[in-house]
């Protein structure tokens, strides 16, 4: 019989077989679909709920009790952008307590009399401080009331020939740190993590099935009797896993970037762009990482006797990988030069730069890529070494 098998052709044979096997595995296909839909889904949901909360502050309906006591004041309120005035409920305090209303304005019946006499005219603001959702609205109404008071006060001073500035001893400028924009920016910070995790989940199918799966089924023995060197078999499995990881990354990133066109970013006052250059940059960062992820997964999974055992090893690995990413997101201070060259942390840092439109030297991309691929090759060699161990081949 003709034997013209070379390590190259044997590797391709293994790649083809593993991909065929994988594509028929409904479980791994589902995992890929779910994981690539999950990230865009979560971000989309969070942004929309934040934007709708923001909108709820912009367009408010204020119930007013005793509007007839102060028609001029109520008219001023009506002229404020996004404000609608409604008739107040019979029992305002009960209405707020039972959460039927977030806030009710009650105008005192002596309002006009006191106002005309330049005495403080009374307006009661009824609210429930324990209601989280009502807080922005309450704040907005209070600010409006204070502004009205301020405007009238200034006019009275001017009428008496005094500059209103004199009455303003201290000027307070609000700088809100935990604003919606800040929170939105934090969610955007998770994008690199999501894209990198998609490489992880995309590779898991082949990484576990072609190692622990072979052990569980007892098919390693027959496979390794073939005259194909262990490194050839390990390489084929590794490259097949890499291809599925790449496919998952491409799908996830494309979905994320498509979804971004439909995010209500304007409503949140965010100027953040995700276009084709950012998409390409993301690919350039994550694609060289995938081979390393696959190689490490395979090495770890080869120690497992069963598919399930391998999956639990890999979920630990996944959590371990998330730690530096989380830390970088929570504590986004110093980016140190060494960070770029550490796998995973480096990609995280690079992606943050890419998405933040920071210029990056092409050499950094190249070096990071080369470091990853070199480490991946080392891990594949180590896996091939494991395939020589009798405990791995025969141990079920």
């Amino acid at each position: 019989m003709t034997t013209k098998s070379t390590p190259m052709t044997q590797t391709i044979v293994v790649i083809k077989k593993e991909l065929k096997d994988w594509s028929r595995d409904r479980r791994s296909i589902l995992t890929v679909l779910m994981s690539s839909l999950l990230a865009p889904g979560i971000i989309f949901f969070m942004f929309n709920s934040m934007a709708s909360r923001q909108r709820s502050v912009e367009d408010i309906t204020v119930p007013v009790v005793g509007a007839s006591h102060a028609p001029a004041f109520v008219n001023w309120l009506k002229q404020q952008a996004g404000v609608t005035i409604a008739d107040g409920p019979q029992d305002p305090e009960e209405a707020v307590r039972s959460r039927r209303e977030d806030v009710v304005v009650v105008i005192d019946e002596d309002f006009a009399k006191n106002f005309a006499a330049s005495r403080p005219a009374q307006v009661r603001l009824i609210s429930d401080g324990s209601s989280q959702n009502a807080r922005p609205k309450i704040q907005r109404v209070r600010q409006m009331l204070q502004r009205y008071g301020g405007e009238i006060g200034s006019l009275r001073l001017i009428a008496r020939g005094i500059s209103p500035v004199v009455a303003q001893a201290v000027q307070v400028e609000d700088v809100e740190v935990s604003s919606a924009q800040q929170r939105a920016a934090m969610i955007l910070g998770f994008i690199p993590l999501f894209v990198m995790l998609s490489a992880f989940t995309g590779a898991m199918g082949i990484s576990t099935d072609s190692t622990a799966g072979e052990r569980e089924r007892g098919s390693f023995e027959a496979l390794l009797v073939n005259p194909a060197p262990r490194i050839t078999i390990a390489s084929g499995k590794w490259l097949a896993g890499t291809i599925t990881a790449w496919a998952t990354v491409a799908i996830t990133a494309t979905l994320l970037f498509t979804m971004f066109r439909y995010l209500p970013l304007q409503d949140l006052g965010i100027r953040f762009r995700l276009g084709t250059p950012e998409l390409l940059g993301t690919m350039a960062v994550v694609l060289p990482l995938a081979p390393l992820i696959v190689a490490i997964q395979m090495y770890v999974a080869t120690f497992a006797k069963s598919f399930k055992e391998a999956q639990s090893y890999l979920s630990f690995l996944m959590m371990a990988q998330m730690i530096p990413g989380m830390m970088a997101t929570m504590n986004p201070t110093g980016t140190k030069a060494w960070m770029y060259y550490v796998p995973w942390i480096g990609q995280q840092t690079l992606l943050t730069d890419v998405l933040g439109n920071k210029p990056i030297a092409p050499l950094v991309f190249v070096v990071v890529g080369v470091v990853n691929v070199a480490l991946a090759v080392a891990a594949v060699r180590a896996t091939a070494g494991l395939l020589h161990r009798e405990k791995i081949i025969f141990g079920r």
Binding site: T3, V13, D21, D25, R217, G218, S219, E221, A222, V225
Partner: protein, 244 residues
């Protein structure tokens, strides 16, 4: 042709294979007979290069399987003890996968695959995924992929274990056919009938040692038992100390 010389393998304190020597000739069926745990599988694993002997020499068609396992594998077709299949692949894909790993391609591969499927009477199930196969169908698939490259030497570890009558027959037919084509066939079994029905030469192994070998007639003569089963029991020392 396979020649084994004083093969040793030890797992911790246990001497699993303790100085096994025998040869299996071309055009002959050699049976490795022994009770469970005698060292049959370990011997075969060393022979098909996945286990390294502590001592001893293995020659497969003159190639030293210990120093050149890669070379020996080209000359070997193996149905191992664990012959797991890939549930999502079809029978034909299994045969083709191993054929391609052996370097067979194109029309060669197609012809050879069709030939094996026909020979094992598997044409009807060739394109079904093996997930739903019976034990017999699985064994036949594993056997077909093991000999896709038409190897000179065929090793079968308990090939008929757990098979029904029809599948056992199919496997026996294959063994006879391989013998007729001049292959070296070495198979292990703990079933006397199996061995006596097929073998030209029998090697009896017990507790890691060869306790008898030769043709069925030789064995009967050696032990003084007319019945081959009695001969086997006597040789493997399974008999309780008889009060004669």
């Amino acid at each position: 042709m396979i020649a084994i010389e004083s093969l040793h393998k030890r797992f911790g304190e246990v001497r699993a294979v303790d100085g096994v020597t025998f040869t299996a000739d071309d055009g002959k069926v050699t049976g490795l007979l022994g009770p469970n745990g005698a060292g049959k599988t370990t011997t075969l694993r060393m022979l098909y290069t996945l286990m390294r002997p502590d001592e001893g020499r293995i020659l497969v068609d003159g190639i030293d399987a210990v120093t050149d396992p890669q070379g020996a594998r080209f000359a070997l077709g193996v149905l191992p003890d664990q012959s797991g299949l890939y549930p999502r692949l079809t029978a034909r894909e299994h045969i083709e996968y191993f054929g391609e790993l052996q370097g067979i391609t194109g029309a060669d591969l197609r012809n050879r695959t069709d030939h094996l499927l026909k020979m094992l009477d598997m044409t009807a199930i060739a394109d079904r995924r093996v997930a739903g196969f019976s034990h017999g169908e699985r064994t036949k698939t594993a056997l077909a992929r093991a000999i896709v490259h038409n190897p000179k030497n065929v090793l079968l570890d308990e090939p008929t274990n757990g098979l029904d009558v029809m599948s056992t027959r199919a496997v026996r037919d294959i063994i006879r056919r391989l013998k007729g084509e001049g292959h070296t066939v070495l198979f292990s079994s703990h079933v006397m009938q199996e061995v006596s029905a097929l073998c030209d030469s029998i090697v009896v192994i017990a507790r890691g040692k060869i306790v008898g070998s030769g043709t069925p007639d030789d064995l009967r003569r050696q032990t003084g038992h007319d019945n081959l089963e009695d001969a086997f029991v006597a040789l493997s020392g399974l008999e309780p100390e008889a009060v004669s």
